[in-house]
């Protein structure tokens, strides 16, 4: 029998409903069964981008998570040994009502924040209130994913109940999202924006320091609620914005890992240099680059211009070349290619921007530009200053658009100014990204909800039809009907050409073989807590 995310979740829910709940897993026992776990030591690893702030609620860059995740807990989390199955983090157990209209979580007792205060259900409520209804001046980039929560109740200090307005088949995934870190209600009451600049979590490590442009460090949380964890005494994440510097540091042993991913060429180079000292792990990646048009800027308010630009891109030819030199690999729609609800290639090629007859497609694109009076179109492509894979994507797009007579300047900025420009709408065309942590279509499609519903839709387009189709697929229990809604949404999205996935990535992670206990997954947002990592030195 094929185990899908849905069957796994149903199984989990069923097991819980039968009373198999409330286990208090003793991590010391697990350690005893595992061969030769060694305690102590400091893990030094590379982070290839500087986080714009410390608040994962307001972020969608891994840089924030790789910096902040070790200091925080979430309600649930993914079990990376059984991905995409979920397990409790601060939730000791949970129950889902048969009609999926309520979720009840029992919290671990005696969970302490770094400031010494005890976590209660009030902290979880304050966190989720902030996520679903952020106060003035606070950004919650995943607000739309919690729109179905009607009320949050806290019957006692260790119980929290989410009452739903409507059944949502993706809720457990959202509760397991690594971005939904639990904050202290006291901190949020003091200043709802506190988490942007202050770290006070219940995670396996406590914050030591963050030196901008240099490093972030943490030390073992002696009061961590999971007995026996973490194994490490501490960690140091070193910001290495240049890939070459990161690889040299990895080769020289100054860093022992980089958990985001490297290109095939970088992998080959490191394997040749380090031989069996290096561990290489590969996976498809729940991450894609997106070409986004700011529909509030002329001439990108004209669907003909947007569509023409998408039709000029030879994705199929590009994926063959770019996969040799970068982390960009698969051609796909809004849902990760190869995942159960993804649009198959046979249907994808019928959509604008995915034609395999690129010559014909470009001729049509030129006609559209001529009709729109934009034959000599010039614009700036906003891109992120991360060599892999943003630079190859920029080079590729400039070349593709030149072939229909469009002149483009590839402007690469550091993460913070890049995100600031995109979020504020101060751009024309951008290489955006969709940073997912599982294959749930709802999660992937949230990106394309109307801007007024989801600020992460950087095209700033508002489209009621897309919102309607999104809701329909969200509520649909029948897989085939849900697929049909997803296809309809993709068709509308690509016909309107607000934004479109460029390529999906392929993840290659390099670690020294002395780094143990870290688990590979299709998402670089997962496993960043580092609680099970140890050093075999």
């Amino acid at each position: 029998m094929k185990i899908t995310r849905r069957t796994a979740l149903q199984g989990t829910a069923g097991a819980l409903a039968l009373g198999v709940s409330g286990f208090d897993f003793d991590f010391t026992k697990a350690e005893a069964q595992a061969p030769a776990v060694k305690r102590g030591g400091n893990l030094t690893f590379a982070i290839s981008a500087e986080a714009p702030h410390y608040d994962p609620h307001a972020s969608d860059t891994y840089a924030t998570l790789h910096l902040a995740a070790p200091f925080y807990s979430t309600l649930l989390r993914y079990n990376l040994s059984k991905f995409p199955g979920v397990e409790g983090d601060i939730a000791q157990s949970w129950q889902v009502a048969p009609d999926q209209l309520s979720y009840t979580f029992k919290l671990h007792p005696n969970v302490k924040f770094a400031d010494g205060s005890t976590l209660t259900s009030a902290d979880v409520k304050a966190t989720y209130d902030r996520l679903r209804n952020p106060p003035e001046g606070v950004v919650s980039t995943r607000r739309a994913t919690f729109a179905d929560i009607g009320a949050i109740e806290t019957p006692d200090a260790n119980t929290i109940v989410f009452k739903m307005k409507a059944a949502n088949s993706s809720m457990l995934d959202h509760f397991a999202s690594p971005w939904n870190t639990i904050y202290s209600a006291k901190d949020l009451a003091e200043n709802p924006a506190n988490p942007r600049t202050k770290i006070n979590g219940t995670g396996p490590f406590t914050f030591v320091e963050h030196v901008k442009g240099s490093h972030v460090s943490g030390k073992k949380n002696e009061n961590y609620f999971k007995k026996g964890l973490p194994y490490l005494d501490g960690f140091k994440g070193i910001f290495t914005l240049q890939a070459a510097a990161m690889l040299n540091a990895l080769q020289g042993g100054q860093v022992l890992a980089e958990f985001r991913g490297v290109s095939p060429a970088e992998r080959d180079r490191m394997v040749a240099a380090m031989g069996d000292k290096l561990r290489v792990e590969e996976s498809s990646w729940t991450l894609n680059l997106i070409v986004a048009f700011n529909v509030e800027k002329k001439p990108f308010d004209d669907v003909r211009v947007r569509k023409a630009l998408l039709m000029a891109i030879d994705r199929w030819g590009g994926s063959q070349g770019l996969s040799r030199i970068s982390t960009l690999r698969s051609v796909g729609g809004a849902v990760r290619p190869g995942s159960p609800l993804a649009t198959p290639e046979s249907e994808l090629v019928k959509l604008p921007g995915f034609s395999k007859d690129i010559k014909k497609s470009r001729e049509e694109a030129k006609k559209l530009l001529k009709e729109a009076g934009q034959e000599n179109l010039k614009f700036t492509l906003w891109n992120r200053n991360l060599a892999m894979p943003y630079t190859p994507a920029g080079i590729f797009l400039v070349d593709q658009w030149r072939q229909i007579g469009v002149t483009v300047e590839n402007k690469q900025s550091d993460t913070a100014p890049y995100l600031a420009a995109l979020r504020s709408g101060n751009y024309e065309v951008a290489v955006d990204f969709s940073n997912l942590f599982n294959d749930d279509p709802t999660l992937a499609l949230t990106k394309f909800l109307s801007h007024e519903k989801n600020p992460l839709n950087l095209s700033r387009a508002n489209d009621a039809e897309i919102d309607k189709l999104y809701d329909m697929q969200l509520r649909e229990r029948d897989v085939e009907k849900r697929k049909a809604h997803i296809r309809a949404l993709e068709k509308r999205l690509f016909e309107q050409a607000y934004q479109q996935p460029l390529f999906w990535w392929h993840r290659i992670v390099l670690t020294h073989k002395t780094v143990m206990g870290w688990k590979m997954s299709p998402s670089h947002n997962l496993g960043a807590q580092l609680e099970g990592v140890w050093l075999n030195t």
């Binding site: 914005l241 240049q242 890939a243 070459a244 290109s263 060429a265 970088e266 180079r269 040749a272 030819g317 590009g318 063959q320 070349g321 770019l322 040799r324 030199i325 200053n385 060599a387 630079t391 190859p392 920029g394 080079i395 590729f396 400039v398 070349d399 030149r402 300047e409 590839n410 402007k411 690469q412 100014p417």
Partner: protein, 297 residues
């Protein structure tokens, strides 16, 4: 009794053809001048000279070895390296020449003014110059380029030009000041002052033309340094951005990943940078030897 006089070289007659005269006296300088001219020609007429479009990707030709089709091979995107070198000379020249010109000119003005006014003004300017001189050129350029954001005008990053020009200013100011100090005590400067001319007029009309020789020498010498700085900054990811053809940029990025299997990716851009820097340095030296009377004997 006859007195044997030492043979005094006949006064060098100024030939109408300066180029021939320069070539005869400074053959290496002439060779470097030819290289510079070739580079300028390639830069100005890149569109005509380059066999391929430097930005066109050809995935069928990724990492192609040098061949009749691609004289210098192709890079990780299948782009023709020879064409990118030719277009890269435009980037190198525009940024190299402009930053050297801006830096040298501002430095010369500062140096002449410092020498002319003397006293506290001279002290303040020179201490400021001392501070700037404490930083190596590339380090100061790195600081400036990191502090300033990109400001692209006509495809050229103006702030990058300033970032390279600023470290040049103190170096030129110090040399030009030394030359200007000797000019300041000349009777015609006193005469101009006595005639009631303004300071600006005396500096620009009477002193500046007499420090042109060191200025020109510094200008050419710093073109080489500016080209090197631009290549270094681009290599570090702070100069021009992909997919613009620039020599320093060609050495970074994918070149670091593929140089073992495609050594031509670093060989030719490296050779181009070395040749250009060598040519400008040699030309600067030869120009100094040619213009400085002490080297004519």
């Amino acid at each position: 009794m006859t007195i044997a006089l030492p043979a005094v070289p006949a006064p060098r007659s100024r030939e109408p053809n300066l180029l021939l005269d320069f070539s005869r006296q400074q053959p290496l300088g002439a060779v470097s001048f030819v290289i510079i001219c070739a580079m300028m020609f390639a830069g100005v007429f890149s569109n005509l000279v380059a066999p391929y479009d430097p930005l066109t990707i050809d995935f069928a030709s990724i990492l192609g070895a040098p061949s009749w089709e691609h004289w210098c091979g192709t890079d990780a995107y299948g782009r023709d390296i020879c064409s990118r070198l030719i277009f890269g000379s435009r980037t190198a020249l525009v940024i190299g020449f402009t930053s050297s010109f801006v830096g040298s000119t501002l430095g010369a003005v500062l140096g002449v003014a410092s020498a002319y006014f003397g006293g506290k003004i001279d002290d303040w300017i020179q201490r400021f110059v001392d501070i700037l001189l404490a930083f190596p050129l590339i380090v100061l350029a790195l600081v400036v380029v990191a502090a300033l954001r990109k400001f692209v005008v006509g495809g050229v990053d103006v702030n990058l030009i300033f970032a390279i020009a600023i470290p040049i200013i103190p170096r030129v100011a110090r040399v030009v000041r030394a030359a200007a100090l000797s000019v300041r005590v000349m009777p015609y400067v006193d005469a101009a002052r006595a005639a009631g001319y303004t300071d600006t007029r005396i500096i620009f009309r009477h002193m500046a033309p007499n420090v042109v020789a060191p200025y020109l020498i510094m200008l050419t010498a710093f073109i080489a340094q500016a080209i090197l700085a631009e290549a270094s900054l681009s290599f570090l990811g702070l100069g021009v951005a992909e997919p613009t053809a620039a020599w320093g940029l060609m050495l970074s990025g994918n070149a670091a990943d593929f140089y073992r299997e495609a050594p031509w990716m670093i060989l030719f851009p490296g050779a181009a940078i070395s040749l250009a820097v060598f040519a400008f340095n040699l030309f600067g030296d030869s120009l100094r030897d040619y213009l400085d009377p002490r080297f004519r004997m």
